[in-house]
Subunit: 304 residues, 2 copies
Amino acid sequence: MFEKVTLIGIGLIGSSLSHVMRREGLTKEITVSSRSQETLDRAEELGLGDNYHLDAAEAVRGADLVIVCTPVGAFESVAKTIASSLSDGAIVTDVGSVKGSIIKQMQPHLPDNVHFIPGHPVAGTEYSGPDAGFASLFEDRWCILTPDEDADEKAVEKLTSFWKACGSMVDIMKPDHHDLVLAITSHLPHLIAYNIVGTADDLATDSKSEVIKFSASGFRDFTRLAASDPTMWRDVALHNKDAILETLGRFSEDLSAMQRAIRRGDGEKLFDLFTRTRSIRRSVIEMGQDVAAPNFGRADGSED
Amino acid sequence: MFEKVTLIGIGLIGSSLSHVMRREGLTKEITVSSRSQETLDRAEELGLGDNYHLDAAEAVRGADLVIVCTPVGAFESVAKTIASSLSDGAIVTDVGSVKGSIIKQMQPHLPDNVHFIPGHPVAGTEYSGPDAGFASLFEDRWCILTPDEDADEKAVEKLTSFWKACGSMVDIMKPDHHDLVLAITSHLPHLIAYNIVGTADDLATDSKSEVIKFSASGFRDFTRLAASDPTMWRDVALHNKDAILETLGRFSEDLSAMQRAIRRGDGEKLFDLFTRTRSIRRSVIEMGQDVAAPNFGRADGSED
């Protein structure tokens, strides 16, 4: 499908892309770039690329597909670095969780003779780094592309085929709409999880160890999202600020209403809310976005 | 271990107790009681008891262990109903997620010749009803007992052995302390999950279906807790009001601080929070309260 794919950044997503590209034979050559020598060495030990570069400009030379897999805060610097080394007609894409900011950071620096098509595979785990990747990460998950209106159709089609070959379903969206939808489905849940685990972390040592001890009663679910990569999530929070603050505002309003219902002993209101949320769970399972097994099918004492 | 155990209420916890008591041979006879004929019929189809009663007073006659497994709001009515039919020396316990309120509801009605030892197995899934139970639910989970200071030691020991035979570890606590700890580890997470899924449920139909479609990016984790039994959780919210409002207050304060950090672009503060929450996840896994597998080891496309 491609002659040479360059991965700039080799964390969970970059390394998963390497695994799936190898498995599916999507490119003849994989070039890996990272600003950190340590990460690059580890990527080499894991055999994630065919060659390795600290300098992203070196890495993109001759590549017909460049995928930026760094935290969202690094995109302007990456764009400036690679701009003059990109091959004529290359597709430049990314995997960032925010699209508006990425376009603002990269677009002005990229030359006209490349196809810039922002992307976001909606997939991940709580683990990060080059060791965290695996080939099936993208299977049955959506990948959202946010091409410009005058983007080259063939390039969009080629990138679509690439993600489908990685196991994904592909959706096309406007960048702003992406950022609003993901603020609700991804950014808010992560921030809420960080917040609740932070609230527990502030407790005195005794209470904190009790929270951990009895965490199977609900709390443990939040600790997974709150173990995600801090750099990635700091950058998401800073670069999708408006949509996140809007979403946090709605959440806080609803939380105040719930608090009032509890204070007033309004059981009917609580029962109504706790009932209608069930149907969303059913839809998530029906659409193949989660498993129906109790407790996510955790392989511990909680299932038969 | 016991001659006759009576389960009042036969939902997830009651039916799981039935399965594990049979597997471990903990009693000669299991009597099941439910206020609903439909539930009782279903329990009989599933063979969860040796006999079945709509009337809890009938059900407890001759039992040396009575376990109340109804929602927390029903305890006073249950206590009044069974009080005069309890056998001399019987142990009366429960599985409710709130302890202070349950003691207030039951204690005044129970006769002096029974041993009332409140309990709470810290275990569950998002499913409810007599079909949801399974024998291994309590394995490696904590069960908290909150006996009165002058409770009979032998009775406490016997109930402790019972829960250990069910696979649990047992802890003894003051009721108020239990209610505060569980407000943080269980009640707050459930209420937050209900709230965030409720916020999404309020969106227009188009946006709602997008939230479901892209839920694998974080949101889906919350839908599990938000699919829990509405009656149970309404009663918990109403019966542990003070501890829950205190905990919600702390959470909201922390959320405001996070909101301010995002608005001001304070990346350092966000990075610090997102980093220290990771160590709690590690402790939860080290203490055997969750699995280390990515995405809770969900058996879908997200793992190798």
